[in-house]
Symmetry: none
Subunit: 83 residues, 2 copies
């Protein structure tokens, strides 16, 4: 199992903001607020909770990876980088 369920994630399909950006923003905020971590919810969990598909989830997480905020380990999960 990966991280806990995160009920702070709310994607608004009607919003002008793209879902992958909404998700990246909310994940980032949750991490910085200490509400998310040290292990992020799995892509499958996020798929269920957000209604988005894996490609979109991965894209949002990819942003946080690029920012150096988290890192992923294949077969394990996505982790908040502690430094």
């Amino acid at each position: 199992m990966a991280g806990q369920t995160v009920d702070v994630i709310r994607i608004d399909p009607e919003s002008a903001a793209h879902p992958y950006l909404q998700l990246a923003d909310q994940l980032r905020a949750g991490i910085k607020a200490g509400e998310i971590g040290p292990v992020l919810p799995s892509i499958m969990q996020l798929t269920e909770e957000t209604g988005l598909v894996t490609g979109t989830i991965r894209r949002a997480i990819g942003i946080l990876v690029d920012e150096g905020l988290v890192y992923t380990v294949p077969g394990r999960g996505t982790f908040v980088r502690r430094d």
Copy 2:
């Protein structure tokens, strides 16, 4: 060991029907015809016999689980539900 080899499974990659649906249909038909069971071939066996990958096999089996036709036991296998 799990179930016997099942040479009734034939996935057509050229078909318009998605492989996971083809497999689910053929497994269901084989079970109802009494040709498959009481233990399904393992996921590994099915990957070899169909050329599909584990994710696709699992998805097909998941359909039969949802239908109540079979159930899975971790470390044991997938069994036809007898009722």
